[in-house]
Symmetry: C2
Subunit: 129 residues, 2 copies
């Protein structure tokens, strides 16, 4: 497949599909939750502790969306105190690889990008926009 044909995947229907997925998968927390769940089945509090900076609310919302998308399974145990365990589904696990590619690109190019930003901001005043 040529590079041109590949980018058609992105442009596709005018980008609706790709934006839909990115809007879901690239929201502030989803990728972190998925990556953390790669360590295996885990309950709410442990996820909360493992992901620094996420609020209870955002963790709940992110998990709900992932469950709705069929990427994470949610098991509730009828105990007291309550226990809920989360786990990646097979579909969820397939997300890891493409996400890692992007992460590799990110860490590889981060220094270069930040350098470029500083150079840009140095010429014009600091305000980028």
């Amino acid at each position: 497949m040529s590079t041109y044909e590949k980018t058609c995947l992105i442009r596709g229907d005018g980008g609706r599909a790709i934006r839909g997925i990115l809007g879901r998968v690239a929201d502030k927390w989803t990728l972190l939750v998925v990556a953390t769940l790669e360590d295996g089945r885990m309950r709410f509090t442990e996820l909360h502790q493992r992901i620094p900076g996420i609020s209870q609310r955002m963790l709940t919302r992110t998990l709900r969306n992932l469950e709705r998308d069929g990427l994470v399974s949610r098991d509730v145990f009828a105990e007291v105190p309550p226990r809920v365990e989360y786990e990646l589904t097979d579909a969820g696990r397939t997300l890891i690889d493409p996400a890692v590619r992007l992460a590799e690109w990110a860490v590889a190019h981060n220094p270069q990008i930040e350098a470029s930003q500083q150079a840009y901001d140095a010429q014009r005043g600091t305000p980028p926009l």
Copy 2:
């Protein structure tokens, strides 16, 4: 590299690097602009026409950010009427491959995900949250 080691790329510093890149690259329009520019050097109006639904304002902002990140070069011609041409830099071109991986994942899993969402919404009332 193991899958576990890979996800450490995402989790990394608590996700700051990854969220930074995603916040930049996965905003509503950036990927579409990059993919469109893969066809070669292009001026503002042509980009605007090729990307359905983008507003003039958002195209300008997206291009400025990409320029600031060093992913797109901007050439201004001192003519009248003015002409400005945009082109991917080498760094910008390296983004295409990882982006395409994610796009492939998106189109491959979109039907499955939407089905899962409908099933989820069918059980509980339509409100996902």
